[in-house]
């Protein structure tokens, strides 16, 4: 699964997600211009670009936070509209946000299940099934090889533990695509390799990952394909084997026009 060499061949199969001519403008500012690409099941794609290149806007469109100003999104050939984050989640897209979107005053387990709490009982007397949530969250953390304890408040946690909580959340549903916005920006070197391991494990399970990162080594360590954005447009979309950090740097800065 992880050793497919011909990305071009993969693209012939039905893609999981397809963006066609996506535009997004905020007032007069054109944040994303005519962006089209596909993501196949189990594919790890690095999305790179300078600050303001449109990476976050693109993620927000795919996550259902912003409606695109123009263009179409298809999932397995069917046109979809995400007007709320919940819609994207129902379609198998999960996001790990840069600020992780955690509530400091809730426990790790309650954060994992936030918005989709497990309940027991019936009718109007449904109460939280916290014990099961602690158990499931504990299993997820163990799977992620994290020392996070499900009952601890997020407020008391280290950067790596918080990261684990945010990633564990994406594992609850049968996610098929995980968008990771700068997952390694705020954590230590040891924790970075943990996140890289995690991405490989996700890929092994057939889950596609779109990795948005500033860190060239991270992207080259796990990605099969790389997409470079500059000023809201795609300037490169190619197998990572056919590229190099030097080329990508050139593409990001504009030293290389297009590849």
């Amino acid at each position: 699964m992880s050793t497919e060499t011909h990305q071009e061949d993969c693209a012939l199969g039905e893609p999981f997600l397809e963006l066609r001519c996506i535009h997004k403008h905020f007032g007069a500012i054109q944040a994303v211009k005519s962006v089209s690409f596909t993501i196949s099941p189990g594919e790890v794609i690095g999305l790179m670009g300078d600050n303001g290149a449109g990476k976050s806007t693109l993620v927000n469109i795919m996550a259902g936070n912003y409606p695109p100003s123009g263009g179409e999104i298809y999932m397995e050939g069917k046109r979809v509209h995400f007007s709320k984050p919940v819609h994207a989640r129902k379609n198998g897209i999960e996001v790990v946000y840069q600020d992780l979107a955690l509530c400091d005053h809730l426990s790790a387990a309650h954060n994992v299940f936030l918005g989709q709490e497990l309940k027991k009982g019936f009718g109007p007397f449904r109460i939280l099934d916290s014990e099961t949530m602690y158990t499931v969250a504990g299993d997820l953390f163990r799977e992620l090889k994290s020392e996070t304890r499900p009952r601890d408040l997020v407020r008391e946690m280290s950067g790596g533990q918080r990261q684990a909580v945010a990633i564990a959340r994406t594992r609850l549903n049968s996610a098929r695509l995980i968008l990771m916005d700068e997952p390694t920006a705020a954590i230590s070197v040891r924790q970075v390799s943990e996140v890289m391991e995690l991405i490989k494990r996700l890929q092994h399970d057939g889950i596609a990952v779109l990795l948005i990162s500033h860190r060239m080594p991270d992207v080259f360590a796990v990605s099969e394909r790389i997409i470079v954005l500059r000023r809201g447009q795609i300037v490169a979309d190619k197998p990572i084997a056919c590229s190099s950090p030097e080329e990508v740097t050139g593409l990001i800065t504009g030293a290389i026009e297009r590849a």
Binding site: L100, C103, D104, L106, L114, G115, R169
Partner: protein
């Protein structure tokens, strides 16, 4: 393989954090302060530690405590409801007016509660759906509801409560098993709210909205509905308190509940509700209201000029917030 040593270590870890967590709760420290003050006052004044004074004090803080429970929910979402005193006035006047017109008690209570809920619905709608600041919206409602109370009552006092007057007066002024009815109402409300906060998804969502609204929205928490619900709850508790206090006093004027919002907010904050959101408890609301009333009562018993009461209560509010800040800083 999990060996038992690891398990005990795990249990010890959990145990110590549980104790730490308990010690970190402001409500616990306020309870300690409450007990110390009670013991001190017991020595200082012969009439303090009497059954009569005790039931007097509990009755007094029950009316405030009931609303403090609703206020705590609002404060946990990082909101504020300044309109509760006025809503209480409107609700009491409407209830009194309907009863005075000869309607049965159910109609009077329903009218009182519905008028309160209407105020809460307006607050909630403007805050949740139009994203207006809770401070400004509820400040406006403070003025509107008080004015409506004047309009509805035409500045008259109501002291005749129709065919069911006996039941109505008994409801607010009576007692059961030696505990006054408003105190029962407070205990039941606090228990229900405490249960909802800790054991339902709604409770988690209330905390989530106050802790990180953006995160709550992104994870699919119905943020707008949650905000709406807390302002409805806050107004409902103001209505319940109004109906009980009118029955207890046996009369109502449009000045009912004037400046109560300050004591209610003070109770919630002293009880550990954090105005920065995400923190607060039902127990805290009750204990905060109790502390304020005990201080008032104690000062009175100690022969301190009642003009000083406001100053002492104000100092306690500031101290509570200051302690909270100091503790936060030490944690960081």
């Amino acid at each position: 393989m999990v060996d038992s040593a690891v398990i005990t270590e795990e249990v010890q870890k959990q145990g110590s954090t549980l104790l730490q967590r308990l010690l970190r709760r402001q409500a616990l420290w306020v309870t300690v302060a409450l007990i110390v003050i009670c013991i001190l006052m017991g020595f200082l004044s012969d009439s303090f530690a009497t059954v009569e004074n005790f039931s007097n004090v509990t009755l007094n803080f029950s009316f405030i405590g009931i609303i403090a429970v609703g206020m705590t929910a609002v404060i946990i979402t990082r909101g504020i409801d300044l309109s509760v005193g006025s809503v209480m006035g409107l609700s009491g006047v409407v209830c009194g007016l309907v009863l005075a017109s000869g309607a049965p008690i159910e109609a009077g209570i329903a009218a009182g509660l519905l008028s309160a809920l209407a105020c809460g619905a307006v607050n909630g709608y403007l805050i949740a759906f139009l994203n207006l600041s809770p401070f400004v919206v509820t400040l406006g409602m403070l003025s509107i509801a008080r004015s409506l109370a004047l309009v509805v009552s035409n500045n008259k006092m109501f002291y005749e409560f129709g065919p069911d007057e006996d039941i109505f007066v008994e409801m607010g002024g009576g007692s059961l098993l030696g505990v006054s009815n408003p105190t029962w109402a407070l205990l039941i409300l606090a228990l229900i709210f405490g249960f909802m906060l800790n054991f339902t998804a709604w409770g988690r969502h209330v905390i989530a909205v106050g802790s990180n609204e953006q995160a709550a929205r992104l994870t699919g928490v119905p943020v707008k509905a949650v905000k709406m619900s807390v302002y409805l709850l806050s107004s409902l508790t103001a209505g319940i308190s109004a109906i009980m206090i009118v029955g207890w006093m046996g009369a109502v004027t449009n000045a009912l509940g004037m400046t109560y919002e300050l004591r209610v907010i003070a109770s919630a904050v002293i009880g550990g509700a954090d105005l920065m959101g995400g923190v607060g408890s039902a127990f805290g609301a009750v204990i905060g209201a109790a502390l304020i009333e005990i201080i008032r009562n104690g000062l009175l018993m100690a022969g301190v000029d009642p003009y000083w009461q406001g100053a002492f209560i104000g100092i306690f509010i500031i101290l509570a917030v200051l302690l909270e800040r100091i503790r936060h800083r030490r944690e960081e």
